[in-house]
Amino acid sequence: MWRFLLPIGILVIIVGFFARGLTLNPGYVPSPLIGKPAPQYELPRLKDLSASVGSESYAGQVALVNVWATWCIECRHEHPFLIELSRSGGVPIYGLNWNDDRDTALAWLDTLGDPYVASAFDPTGEVAIDWGVYAAPETFLIGRDGTVLYKHISPMTPEVWAREFLPRIEAECGELPCSPLPDER
């Protein structure tokens, strides 16, 4: 009789693994940058090409670096949440506008709102390559000492924020909003 139970047994095992598999991310390849100093960069500001923005802009602070582009429809999906984060998240967000057209990018920020303290303009992807970006959107969490604490590929969502980012930010600086490290460090 047991042989008729075998198929359902196999199905239960497979379904069990699938259920576990859903909480894993096969696309997640740990970034070699995590735990290492973030690559230094300095680029023109998207909104004012004569000014610059780069790693120095957020030195000593916990910051998010968000890679975005107007051709990336998933970026459009995450945009409202980034706006929300910029108002209440307690962490400054720096944009890295990647492989994009400046006029379109400016129009995007005008219509959808600008969550970024400043966006770097990287039309050729030179900085994005250093950062190991191969898809947008990507969001990096940078610690006060400039190390990459975490990297998230695909749109930022409230769940990802609560699960992956908040605990790391709290571990880094206790409570929000994060205060910059005192200069004597």
Binding site: P7, I8, L11, F18, G21, L22, L24, I73, N99
Partner: protein, 656 residues
């Protein structure tokens, strides 16, 4: 307003599906004829409403309605009209709607063709199809609504993935899905048999054409997918053991076993629990295919949509549909008595081996596909399982399978003396081994043991398939009538397997691949052909810009062809695409793909010479054509009439 109409149509289809999934099955159990009678009208109504929803979505695509999110994400005003239409299934939501559309079509066909079936069986079969439909309609409406609006509307769309802007991709998904979803019908018949605890030869005869049809579509769909991957992905491979390919191959293997098991059940009234299990397996593996491609638990070149919430839903769907069927199987399969026995040397034995070996092959592919997930889930690390595993492990069950296949075709039912069988086959076997050794050595000047085994097996199956018709034709004047249509179907399908084996073996053994960097004017030799790189030029396509390389191919000094591979950049998505140039031929394909520009007019270039690669797809098409002949055998229609004529009669006469 019109997109909302599509959504309303889906909701109406769901209401009908709910009725179809419940009352007819309850009616069959309670002997309520009025409830059972609801099965057909609800099935047909559902077809109408799902068709309406599908039409609405297609209209939105053709009319560039970018206020619909799904359209904005998968189309663009500059996209050619054909691709605007095929973009309907270019993403997750639309693929699901296509799935539903095909399920509704199969269900409608069953409803129309089931008038000759016993009322209870028809009600149960349609009811089970209704359950499947409810699950997928809920899935679509709750997690993947294709009619969701985008506000404000996008100015233009995000364009269709350039990989999918291709004529083969236009027909690949519908055909593949027709195969996948078609296995819902034998599945429904199997569950209906379990519900009633009754399964006889008539049941097998009713189920068989449906199973063969689904199998036929799946065969063509897989072959098209392989062909598409060959010329569109730009790597020159024809099978990658990618999770999504495996997802279509596993139901095919289970479906192949099902066809053979059904033959035994129809003819001899045995292997009943095997047949039911295989029917459940084939459809469960089809659902699994949907899960693998849609959930993101495994990454693959084909996964265009993935989302854990959807994955969870599909998982619940598999648990309910397959789990429910398998629980029923555990409870009821023991009651399906066998109607006869058979001896060790008999066709039944060979078909039993066939069932076992095919199931082992499914298990091997399933294990390899899921192994990375198993390890990841157990926190043992991240790995990927590639062709080395599959190529080795897959051969273990399939080598004996092919060996027995040739013999099985010539074994008689019930029993046969081993000596007679051996005497019949000794000559074809000898010829096959001889050809298997000679052909590779004479044509390709060398062969490994595995190559010789492969070529011998190819010739063995071809010889075994043709032995009977050739002998009969020699003895008779009417060539076409010596075999019944179903027998021609079997012969052709097996012939196709032999041709496929020859193609796959020769291509894998003697394929020549070279990657090199070349400058305009360079000449070099690959596999007896001289290639000359004449340079590149830029040009603009409808919705892309491209660089086109020009290669002159010569053999023994005379021009064979000029090949022009392209490198395209699609304007909207900015993804680079490699359009390989292929010079196709019966004996070999020449394949040239442009790699990257290396500066100063130099390019990296991949050139391949692939002998007999066309045999791979030709073999598959011949198999499918065999399926077409078998599925349309007149006896399936004749029996329906005969059945009506002898309502209440007992066992049917033996079929051929």
């Amino acid at each position: 307003m019109i997109p909302e109409l599509g959504q309303v149509a889906l909701i109406l289809a769901l209401s009908l599906a709910l009725v179809q999934a419940t009352l007819p099955i309850a009616g069959a159990a309670l002997q309520r004829a009025d409830w059972m009678a609801l099965a057909r009208p609800t099935a047909i109504g559902q077809f109408v409403f799902v068709g309406l929803a599908f039409g609405v979505l297609a209209t939105a695509f053709l009319g560039d309605d970018f206020s619909v999110l799904y359209v904005a994400m998968h189309s663009n005003s500059a996209l050619p009209s054909l691709y605007k239409f095929t973009a309907v299934w270019g993403g997750h939501e639309g693929s699901l709607l296509l799935w539903l559309m095909i399920l509704a079509t199969w269900t409608m066909l069953v409803a129309v063709a089931s008038r000759s079936l016993p009322e209870e069986l028809a009600a149960r079969v349609l009811g089970v199809l209704g359950i499947v439909s409810v699950g997928l309609l809920l899935f679509t409406l709750l997690t993947s609504n294709p009619f969701e609006r985008l506000f404000p509307a996008a100015f233009d769309g995000n364009d269709l993935n350039p990989l999918l802007q291709d004529p083969a991709m236009a027909i690949h998904p519908p055909i593949l899905y027709t195969g996948y979803v078609g296995f819902a019908v034998p599945f429904a018949f199997a569950v209906a048999a379990l519900l009633s605890s009754r399964l006889n030869k008539d049941w097998a005869r009713w189920t068989r054409p449906w199973a063969i049809s689904a199998w036929m579509f799946l065969t063509v769909g897989i072959a098209l997918g392989s062909w598409w991957a060959y010329y569109e992905l730009g790597w020159g491979g024809w099978w990658f053991w990618d999770p999504v390919e495996n997802a279509s191959f596993m139901p095919w293997l289970a479906g192949t076993a099902l066809l053979h098991s059904l033959a035994v059940t129809e003819r001899r009234g045995i292997f009943k629990s095997w047949t039911i299990l295989l029917a459940i397996m084939a459809f469960s593996l089809s659902l699994l295919g949907t899960f693998l491609t849609r959930s993101g638990v495994l990454i693959s070149v084909h996964s265009f949509a993935s989302d854990p919430a959807r994955g969870l839903f599909i998982l619940a769907l598999i648990s309910t549909i397959s789990g429910g069927a398998l629980v029923l199987y555990a409870l009821r399969a023991g009651r399906m008595g066998a109607e006869g026995g058979f001896r060790l040397v008999s066709r039944e034995s060979f078909l039993l081996l066939n069932n076992i070996l095919l199931v082992v092959a499914v298990a091997a592919v399933l294990f390899g596909t899921l192994y990375p997930l198993f390890l990841d889930a157990l926190d043992l690390g991240k790995i990927s399982v590639g062709p080395p595993y599959f190529n080795t492990v897959f051969l273990i069950p399939t080598l004996p399978l092919v060996l027995f296949m040739g013999a099985g075709m010539h074994a008689t039912w019930k029993s046969m003396s081993g000596e007679t069988l051996a005497r019949k086959l000794v000559i074809p076997a000898g010829v096959a081994v001889l050809l298997g050794v000679l052909v590779p050595w004479i044509i390709f000047r060398g062969a490994s043991v595995l190559t010789m085994v492969g070529v011998s097996l190819g010739f063995w199956v071809i010889g075994a398939a043709l032995l009977e018709p050739v002998q009969r034709m020699l003895a008779s004047n009417h060539a076409a009538t010596v075999l019944s249509r179903a027998q021609w179907g079997m012969t052709l399908a097996h012939l196709g397997v032999g041709i496929f084996i020859l193609g796959a073996t020769i291509t894998s053994s003697y394929n020549i691949e070279t990657d090199r960097s070349v400058r305009p004017g360079d000449r070099w030799e690959v596999g007896g052909y001289e290639f000359v790189f004449r340079g590149t030029r830029d040009f603009d396509g409808v919705n892309y810009s491209a660089v086109e390389g020009e290669f002159e191919v010569r053999r023994n000094g005379s021009l064979v062809t000029i090949m022009t591979p392209e490198k395209r950049i699609y304007r909207v998505q900015r993804s680079p695409m490699t359009e390989a140039a292929i010079d196709a031929g019966w004996s070999r394909d020449l394949f040239v793909a442009l790699g990257e520009p290396l500066g100063d007019g130099a390019w990296s270039v991949r050139v391949q010479v692939k002998p007999l690669i066309r045999f791979i797809w030709l073999g598959a098409l011949i198999m499918a054509f065999g399926g077409l002949l078998a599925a349309t055998d007149p006896r399936y229609r004749r029996r329906k009439v005969a059945h009506e004529a002898r309502v209440g009669a007992g066992a049917s006469p033996e079929s051929v």
